[in-house]
Amino acid sequence: MSITTPVTFEEGPAAPPRGAKTKKAPDNWTSPQWRYTLTVLVIVLILLIPVFVTVILAFRPQLQSTSHSYFTLENFRYVFSQTGVLTWLRNSLIVTLATVLVAVCIAAPAGYVLSRGRSKAVSGYALLLFIAQSFPQIVSVVPLFVLFAKFNLDDNLLGLAIVYVSSTISVATWMMAAYFDTIPVALEEAAWIDGCSLFKGFVRIVLRNSLPGVLSAAIFAFLLAWSDFLIAVVFLRSDSNFTLPIGLQTFFSTNSTEWGYVMAVSVVVMVPPIIVFSFLNRYFSIGGIGGSLAGR
């Protein structure tokens, strides 16, 4: 760190950084640290304009309204009481949570095999996952629609969740495998020697120590299932089964779009993933998937 604030007084490298710094080398506005902070702040403000616009418009009175204030909850009151937003919200939550649970339950053991197995079959499986990930959804959506219609799974939240699980499975498995790779095999070996079965070793030793890996995969599945549009727009027909992204589109069908209502629903759509991310962000790591994707 040779280019940080010049330390004029006693330059002890082991000095407690924070307290010492603010006192002795005043953290003024022209220091590189502040310059970088302001640069990034400006970039963030510009890049997030679309997000700010959504929030501002959601809380702003409609143009034709008589109110003169700049803040109102009227848009939210309307969409919650007059439209199906609550039903769609419930549907979205059900589908997303089901997807997350099932995806984790399927991806965790698969990731364990990917992480610990060393054979031709495992490499073949890794390739299979890769092909599945590069499979354009548009190809599978028509045949799946026909197939699911036979089992009454079209226009059905369960059918939707099944497809979502399958489309998260590749990345979720890579994330799991990447995390399992960081857990030493010696731990399991010790348990095997004590007569523990492979499966027990996996559940009680590997899985129990893999909360960040599990959460990474869960967050990824959450984001994918929550924001999907293609599968939902093909599968869902009846208003009461809509998920939020599809419900949002119904506001555009009229000639003049009521932007206040649209943005209010938009805020409802974007709040859950933001909440999830702001609480669990530190567990989310995607960098490792490269290693588990390529490592075998």
């Binding site: 760190m1 679309p50 354009p136 499966f199 549009f229 943005m263």
Partner: protein, 324 residues
């Protein structure tokens, strides 16, 4: 070893023994084999991976076969219809919109991959500097990726779509005349690409940040002593060290871009006059808009062949990319 013989031991005691080193004592005599015979290990592993394989085959394998059959028939969503051999592909190949979509798909993928990589890497490098509230900024910068596309496409639409939207008005005030961003083909293509970069840079930033975290500072210090400039440091040290991760992130982003439906469909719907159709959007429009199932699915098959072929080739190459 006593620890392996004495009675039914549970996992916790096994762990504690492992910590005390007793387990390691057993290791020297016994091979650290998975429990019992080898075959039981294989059976367990197969059972663990089975649900995943089953799902992949059901949701990808079956539709792939069905789609191939559909692309060879002149049917609709309900019936398969008569066999027409490769006529559906013939229809596609003689459709100028198809070739335009091929071109735009290539543009979209190239711009999407490298544009978002440049922005993401730039931000990841910037966020390595000492600054205040760094982790807060990092989280905020992920928002374009975290917020659902339906929402951001709506916001972008509000910002650029109509002549009275903010961005066209600012452009007019700056003397660019009246620009119809989503109504003129060239500008619409441009906006769609910018939107894709905006959506994808957080992913690239995450990948780059993770890779950069592994680059050690002392490498730079040695080079700085030798008089290397900032660009040389980046070119000769940073880039080679993150090459492998960069390559993987390109591949993943390519896959995300080529299969991407919702960001284009929700922003422009493929318009104006089909100018922003990629193959995915064209396929969807042909099947569900024009009800021409055969030609639409045929487009999907072409895409499937291209993307699987390209990604398998890239997948095989990953192993060869080495830190140089």
């Amino acid at each position: 070893m006593t620890s392996t013989k004495t009675g039914p031991s549970n996992v916790l005691s096994g762990l504690s023994r492992a910590r005390k080193g007793i387990g390691l004592g057993g290791r020297s005599e016994h091979q650290p084999r998975p429990p019992r015979r080898l075959s039981s290990r294989i059976i367990t592993l197969a059972l663990l991976v089975f649900p995943s394989v089953f799902l992949v085959v059901l949701i990808y394998g079956y539709p792939a076969i069905y789609a191939v059959i559909e692309s060879l028939h002149n049917g609709n969503l309900v019936q398969t219809g008569p066999y027409v051999a490769l006529h559906n592909f013939w229809i596609d190949f003689h459709n100028p919109v198809f070739w335009h979509s091929v071109r735009f798909t290539v543009v979209y993928c190239v711009v999407g991959v490298f544009g978002s990589w440049l922005v993401g890497l730039g931000l990841a490098l910037l966020l390595r500097k000492r600054m205040h509230a760094r982790s807060f900024f990092k989280t905020l910068l992920l928002l374009p990726w975290v917020v659902p596309v339906v929402v951001t496409a709506t916001a972008w639409n509000w910002l650029v779509a109509t002549p009275s939207s903010p961005v066209p008005r600012i452009a007019q005030d700056l003397g660019f005349g009246q620009l119809l961003f989503l109504a003129s083909p060239g500008l619409a293509e441009f906006i769609v690409c910018v939107y894709k970069i905006w959506l994808s840079f957080p992913f690239m930033m995450l990948m780059a940040s993770a890779a950069l975290a592994g680059v050690e500072e002392h490498l730079y210090e040695a080079a700085r002593v030798d008089g290397a400039g900032a660009w040389q440091l980046f070119r000769r040290i940073t880039l080679p060290l993150i090459a492998r991760s960069t390559y993987i992130s390109w591949i993943l982003m390519f896959i995300f871009c080529i299969g991407d439906f919702q960001s284009i469909y929700l922003l422009t719907g493929g318009g104006p006059v089909s100018s922003t159709n990629t193959l995915v959007v064209l396929s969807y429009e042909t099947v569900f808009g024009d009800f021409q199932t055969g030609p639409g699915v045929a487009i999907g098959i072409i895409m499937l062949l291209i993307s699987v072929l390209v990604s398998v080739i890239l997948f095989r190459r990953i192993k060869k990319v080495q830190i140089s």
